[in-house]
Structure formats: C-alpha cells, structure tokens
Symmetry: C2
Subunit: 199 residues, 2 copies
DNA sequence: TTTACATTTCAGTAAGGACAGAACATATCG
DNA sequence: CGATATGTTCTGTCCTTACTGAAATGTAAA
C-alpha cells in the first residue's frame, strides 16, 4: 500500500485544508485517501498508507461515518471492515453542508434569539447591541432559509445553479430594489431561457 | 468596561464558532465584541473586557485588520488607537469569503491541477485517482467561478438572491437537463417577475 | 531631548488537542 | 475451549498553537 505522488500530495493538502476549516488533520487525510482510491480499504491499509496509528484511524473513521461522508462496506469471505468514501464531489459537499448547518447554524440561531431577548431587557443602554444581534440573527436565518431551499435541488440542478452564476447576476444584479431596473426585462427572460450547462 | 450578559454570551459563542471554522478563539471574540459595541474601542478596553493580555489583543487585531473586518480609527486629542468592526453583516460575510477564496480555493486549484498532470504520468494504474482529482478540480473551479460572479453583486442584490431561494428552486430545479421540464416555462418567468424581498 | 504613554515583537510557558500504544472487547475458526 | 484476528476505547505523552509578560520599538507632548 504505497501512495502515488499525486495521491500523496492531495492527501497532504487536504489535511491542511481540513485544519483551516476546523477539521482534524488525520480525519481529512483519511477522507482524501478514500476519495482517490478505487477500492474500499481496511483500517490496516489506511494506517500503513498514512503512517498513523490504528487507533487514530479508527477514531477518524468513526467521525467520518458520523459525518456521513464515509461508509463501511463488507466483502464476503473477509472479516475485515472496509471503508469507502462518497465518490461524488457534489454529494459530499451537500452532506457536509447539511451537517454543518445542523451543528452550527441551528445552535447559533437559538443563541442569537436568546441574546436578542436578553438584550431587550437592558433598555436603551443595550439598544445598539440588540440591533446588531438582530441583524446578525436575521442574516443567519436568511442564509439558513436559503440553504433549506437549495438543499432540495437535485445534484444536477445544483450543478446548473453553480454553472449559471452569470445568469444570477443578470437576474438579481439590478442596482437598487425596484428603482433602477425592472426585474423582468426581456434580458432577464432571455437569461432564463438560455440556461446552459457551461459558462 | 463590563459586558452585558447578552454581549458576553454572543462573544463566547462566536469564539466557539470561530474555532469550528479554523479561526483563533480570541480573534473571533475580539471581532464579536467590536461588532456589538457602538463605539470604537482601544486595545486596553478590549483586553479588560475579554480578560486576555494586551499582546494577545494586539495580535488578534492585526489579524482582523489583515482580514479586512476591523479597522483602526483615531479620535482627535487621543493618542490611543481605537478599533471598530465592519458593522454590516453582509459586508463582513463578503470580505471573509473573498479572503478565504484567496487563501484556500486558489491554492487548492493550483495543487489539484498539478496533481492531475502528475497522475496522468502514471498511466492506467492511476486512472481512477486521476478521474477523482479531475472531478474535484472541476468542482472547485465551478464554485470559484460562481463565487466570482456572485461577488460582483451589490449587497442589496446579494440579499435579494438569498431571500429568493424558492425562486432559484423554480428556476433550476427541473429534474434532468432538458428532459423533464423546459427551463423557461411561464412559471419561471413569473418567478422572475415576482422577485420579492421576503420569502 | 526627555518623559510618558502606546503599541508591537519576542521568548518562554501553558493549555488543548492529536496521537500512539496498550488494554479491552468482540468475533471467527481450529 | 483456546488461539488468532479484528475493532474500539482509554490513558498518558507529545506537539502545536495560543497566550502571557517583558522587552523593544515607536510616538507625541513637554
């Protein structure tokens, strides 16, 4: 079980990336390894490939399975558990988004709601703070709501959305709401009609 | 300089959130504090409020300024530097996105390009790995390109985009490209015409 | 220029998290 | 029932990073 140079570089980089996003390095490396490997690997192989302890691999795998980006697979006639990553990038992305929403956005909304209520008790002295907290709350709610809609889209629909950034600009990019430009000019309709898979 | 309970809770939570996103706790706390405080604060006040050392505050402020979410302000007749955060949430969000793109997406694209080239040298044995890396690269490129478009939008336009998630579903949510549903049915046009600030 | 105040940098320390190895648990087969 | 293989959990250690306090640097008034 020796990694090719390309795989090795990717695994290392993914580990760094993980850290920048608050994810344990080994965990990110295990994920990267499984992502680029055609067959499901057992813990021993992962341990050897990344040169980390079995226990560390075990913990990382548990976490990755909890996140939903890795799953356990069994091969008949082999007692060992094997593991494989979600192989579809967009799907992986979605799963991670869903999990982060659940873990971070939802509790943040709850906390902000609490803080806003509490800040109201303070009267005028806390007015500014309350306003800011309310704005933040509104923003997080807005993003969460948006996410809720986007999450309903199929992978292919999501891809269309991503590939049509320029159309989004046309659709939403008039200067000031209702003042500068009509939202439904022929241009916009054309933009919708010409939705294409490429930029 | 004593924090209200609401501000305190927010600051602490923001610190935790920061960690989950790979941001130093103190740094996130300083940002949270400045965000909910009406006036610009000097380093001493921040240090006292958060109960961390002056030097730690200094470092955190430097970082926050580098990120572009905090700026130095001067008050005539006072030698002390004071600091205030961007007060607009959406603007703050944009600045952070831009910085993360620069720091993480761009280098990731560069690395993936390199890896793909290298994996091609491996011939058929690395075929699968190369495919996966290519898919990942394509995804990151797609998101980056999309971001590039979205970033051109004004704050108000961005807000419209976020508040119209359901329209996006209508616009992009047909099942399979070109097969299941025409992209520009009357429904879609209506969806564009009725863009509204609220869900 | 000196003094007082502010800020930054730096070196050592402390805290937290990652990690290895051992112990434990479970399961399969002789 | 051992014996062997596999998987998990736990404990202590190590490493990284955050952090402090002190020293150095900078700056503005006296």
């Amino acid at each position: 079980m020796i990694l090719t140079p390309a795989a090795k570089k990717f695994v290392l980089h993914w580990g760094e990336m993980g850290q920048a996003w608050g994810i344990n390095r080994t965990m990110a490396q295990v994920h990267a390894l499984l992502f680029v490997t055609p067959e499901a690997l057992d813990a021993e192989e992962i341990s050897k490939s990344l040169d980390v302890s079995r226990s560390n691999v075990s913990t990382s795998l548990r976490e990755l399975i909890t996140w939903g980006v890795v799953r356990r697979v069994h091969i008949i006639g082999d007692r060992r558990d094997r593991f494989e990553a979600l192989k579809d990038v967009m799907e992986t992305f979605r799963v991670i988004m869903a999990e982060r929403k659940r873990r971070e956005m939802d509790p943040t909304i709850a906390l902000l709601e609490h803080c806003v209520v509490e800040a109201k008790l303070g009267g005028t002295s806390e007015e500014y703070t309350r306003d800011q907290l309310e704005k933040m709350l509104e923003f997080v709610r807005m993003v969460t709501l948006w996410y809720g809609h986007i999450d309903r889209l199929s992978t292919s629909a999501l891809e269309r959305l991503f590939r049509n950034g320029s159309r989004l600009v046309k659709l939403f990019g008039w200067i000031s709401p209702g003042q500068d430009r009509d939202p439904a000019t022929p241009d916009d309709v054309e933009a919708v009609e010409s939705l294409q898979p490429n930029e």
